[in-house]
Symmetry: D2
């Protein structure tokens, strides 16, 4: 009989659903060392928490997150609340000796993130930040190809995360559905929400970012508050572009916006190496583009790889070649790795410490945009 | 409290997994009138049946399908065994008053299929054949666009189902993994396995097929038997192409093969109407191509629709725009509709009777190929 | 100084323009052994013939094609008139000892085509039929890849030629612009106009077609005559689908229509071999899709080859890698090869005799559709 | 009879060929007010100049560009030499009262460019800089769509120009074939060669660029001189990325490199407006991507427009819908417009003055990269 692992989920929004689904599904597909049990879900609104518990099969629900921390039966605290609450909850959970899975970005700022890292490292608890896109099989495959040395020296890393859902000035800020537009809850706009993903993947693929020059813009200057109905200034960045240099000498170009009409959630990256290049986009996440200069010149071209075969990362666990998986599966993979590493006492990447490095880049980006100057990032 | 619905699954292969996943997941995403309970799984090998039950959370397992039929607590019998066993099991299940979900193709031939239809209709039990591709949201959307009259008069329906997994002569026939290559178990090759899907979708989209002219080929004439190791003649069609006429005057062109190097499971269709056209392919199942002649001529072109928005079929239940679902979700939708219809006492399409119509076309196709003549199909 | 070669063009329509452009341009890019001189153009309407001569720099014009044949200074007779006039002009030109470039399809029917072949072979004159798509670099590259044996045993050849320009019932038949809809002038509809191209390329790539089963349809049964204004029955095939077998054991699937909403001139082919596959489409004629099963499995996928490099067929003569050529260039290549072969006394493919083989397939296709039976094609 | 216009071409390299082709071809397709006559070609090497004249039908050739300027019969001086010679030749040509077509970028720097503008404006001669990509029909169509207001407020302009031809350290610098790698001849690397195109198109589409922050890199620090064989430091930028702000409040993101493995000449742009977006790439230059938010939500998607219809810019002059043109045609359109405007006494865009604005942005980009600071651009 497998050991069970009791999950306490804090936050029942969009991410609460993706994490719940992952815990429920992982054992059906992966041979994981623990059996996750959906023990309790916590959220501000009791009726909603109850409904969520019912829908997902949580054994109980509550409305005070401290109750989850205090519950001795809980093994893993999973944090899916707005960014401004990550630090407090995570630190408390660490002090209580819980393993922690925290949604990204790790924190509102570097100072908070540093305290969180200190807390989990002091407590010696398993800790993971949910930069889920690393575990889209095509993205993981990209990492594998780089690590195998297939690209050779890397010259360029380019990433975009383009959306269009806030173009209308009638979209409010704040509240349950639109807290991502509220600077107090979110800390920043696209930089923390979207570029953080790009930066996490980029540094995983291509090493540290050492300096940045950024530009941000808030296109719609004021919006109605979803809760109060009052029109208030918008504090977040609607769009952010930055150039950077990586430690390995390659150049980076990153852009994110919620004003790119026609793109719903188009996260793309492209890596150009001396011998080969790789490209990917989230709108067709089951594909990877690969160009190999070593191919015969008359039949050389970008290869469109349908990442659905059993010898590709994670794909041996799903269906048969040609049958694609989707967005939610990246969270299943994340949980599978988290459980496996936990059993072996190994850290699961990205840890809080790794996410702190991403936080440093995000903060440098925002500082650069404000100061209109290049910023150097020192990763200690 | 929702009423439970006890599921008895017969067959723990690839399809057994897709169906189990669907029953487990449906309540988390859809507001279904019943709560499916994974009651028992049945398969030939006891160890495998036990392992499957364990992996998926079935309460029990057995090795004799008659036991499932005899079990009074079972509400739904789900048939995921090779084609040659569909008839016997389904007829017994009908006689026992069970609701039935049967994998496609319905039967080995029209005669069997007719007996199955008679059985379920006599028993008055809910019955459904798992032509799951109808419930890929993009495919359902195509149906909706046709029903809205957006295409106008339809001239052409084109469908292909291309694979490449049997090109090597070392692939055996028969046995658990390759029964689809064994004429005795499968009845036919690509015609029943792949073209049946294309035909089901086509007749749903475009009405009855009235005549066909077909050509089949078996490229590899003999293969080793996976169980006996003996080299035996191959009895199935490796490839099948057919032309047809639809009742509405449009022309059809269908092709399937397992010898199309480079295609894993490329099911495609394209429908050309007077005013608009639609195209889809399974390798990017979350997209639909749409061409509308009414667009301004200077900006007229095929639209690449990312079928991930909440107002598209089934998609309001999943994530947010831009985040794709995958293959397995079509089965979840199938179960959601099955449960909903069952509660309302309505048939769920495609019923056994509708699948019989597809069986008639398949049989006419095989007869045409053998006789090298056009065959007329009479749907009574 | 290069020897000049005097061109007499008969027909100043769309094809007259493509051929004139080719003769004018070829020397600027290719090191051809002759310098083509645009000597005379002939067409029914004097004012239009004069305007055409002026626009393209022909030294003279006339309205009676016999005058071109009778002109001793003319070296090459280029036939760009409707199909029903090919035979008479070509036979006269052959008898007058002229080299001949004739537009496709060669003739109205096999009987005519046989007389034409006899005439040019008896006269020993250079003869070429303008199946220009063979000389789109990507199509030529496909031939090279097949000849190099990269595909191995071929299983499938699939070709479509889809248009949508005759969907409106207001398009007339007959006259200068729409003679292709007039059975008397064109001989057939899509079969001779479009499928002839597909068949020519297919037999060049994949060898002889030995049997066919076809289906044709005329969706709009009557149209106004462009010249008389009278509404008359439509005699051509609006759409034609056929299946076939090749001499090498592979299966063919061909379809053409002018009722495929959304496709302007979408000629596509795909060839599936044991080891590799190739696909191409005219709407992006500068690209070739190539799949090589020998690639490492984790980076295997269709390669999108941008056919613009100097080591690809014909491309060393144009610009630099990345810069595409277009439709008209296929005619320039055709002329370049024609002149080169002429200087060496070699036939240029496809000769009249090769085009006769295509004519036989076209005729078998039309017979099959009429008789609803398989037709065997004997190439003597 | 049309008036003739005598062309004197200076420089017989790659651009000399594209311009010669354009002059030769324009009258066959466009109803231009002048008949261009290829009068003389000038280049350093006499044998090559003679061969070029022969190939293209120039009446004469010479090796001293001053001879072209001094020739009273020459109406248009066409400058296709390396950038460091543009200013001297253009100023002399202006003083001699010649119409001038000059290759891009206009000059080595802003100071030179200003003197050139002063010269042509003082002389009152027709002047045009060959930013040919404006006249790719899809790019021109993009301009038309913007001018029609279809995009609404513009938020983002993104452009890349990616190549990979200098990745090998064995590519030399300097000489006839590789002067673009020689800072003395070219002035800069990708900034002047490639980004100048992007900037020209961007400001045409989206108005003035007002500030920039840039980053450049030289990946290969020294290369052999193609003429002397000596290894020398590389003075050009191999790659350049810049962010910018446009006068209309939109954000720009530009990148160019010759180290993007897998891209031959991939010039792309994307424009995101409030109501619609547009994207284009040079590798499929005959297509335009268009997204219109006003489309019904269930069939909304990027439209892939095949820019080959008669009602699209320039396309009424070429073939029929579905048949693409290529790279070289942009130069034909440029000449067609130049001749038409000349006859009407109107300037042809981009004039020297407009190209000076582009030069200012290029210079600011290079200054920004050097100083690691934002630069403001003042267009007087």
């Amino acid at each position: 009989m497998k050991k069970t692992l009791n999950i306490g989920l804090i936050g029942y929004g969009f991410m609460g659903r993706t994490h719940s689904n992952a815990y429920r599904k992982v054992s059906n597909f992966f041979d994981v060392p623990y059996k996750p049990v959906l023990k309790t879900v916590c959220g501000l609104d009791e009726a909603q928490a109850r409904a969520f518990a019912d829908q997902w099969g949580y054994e109980s629900y509550c409305t005070d997150w401290r109750q989850v921390i205090a519950d001795d039966t809980i093994d893993v605290v999973d944090i899916c609340v707005p960014n401004n609450m990550h630090a407090e909850i995570a630190i408390a959970a660490a002090q209580a000796g819980k393993a922690i899975c925290c949604e990204k970005p790790l924190a509102l700022n570097v100072a908070e993130a540093e305290r969180m890292v200190a807390a989990v490292e002091k407590a010696g608890v398993a800790n993971l930040v949910s930069f889920n896109y690393r575990r889209v099989p095509a993205v993981t495959l990209a990492k594998q190809l780089i690590d195998e040395g297939r690209l050779g020296r890397i010259f360029h890393y380019r990433a975009n995360f383009l959306q269009d859902w806030t173009i209308s000035k009638d979209v409010p800020q704040g509240g349950m559905a639109t807290w991502r537009l509220d600077a107090k809850a979110a800390g920043s706009g696209v930089t923390g929400d979207l570029l953080a993903h790009c930066i996490d993947t980029a540094m995983w693929h291509n090493g540290a970012i050492t300096s940045v020059s950024a530009m941000t813009e808030t296109f719609i200057k004021e919006r109605k508050n979803a809760e109060t109905g009052k029109v208030e200034p918008v504090g977040i960045d609607d769009a952010c572009t930055f150039m950077c240099r990586f430690d390995n000498g390659s150049l980076g170009n990153f852009e994110s916006t919620r004003y790119a009409r026609g793109h719903k959630a188009l996260y793309t990256f492209e890596i150009n190496g001396e011998n080969a290049s790789i490209a990917w986009d989230l709108h067709d996440l089951h594909r990877l583009s690969y160009f190999d200069h070593a191919d015969d010149s008359i039949v050389r071209g970008w290869r469109n790889v349908h990442v659905t075969d059993g010898d590709m990362p994670y794909m041996g666990k799903w269906w048969v070649p040609g049958l694609q998986i989707g967005y939610e599966h990246s969270f299943v993979h994340q949980v599978a790795d988290f459980l496996e590493d936990m059993a072996q006492g190994k850290p699961t990447s990205p840890t809080f410490r790794e996410a702190l490095a991403t936080q440093r880049v995000c903060e440098a980006v925002l500082t650069s945009a404000k100061s209109k100057s290049w910023q150097t990032i020192k990763q200690p």
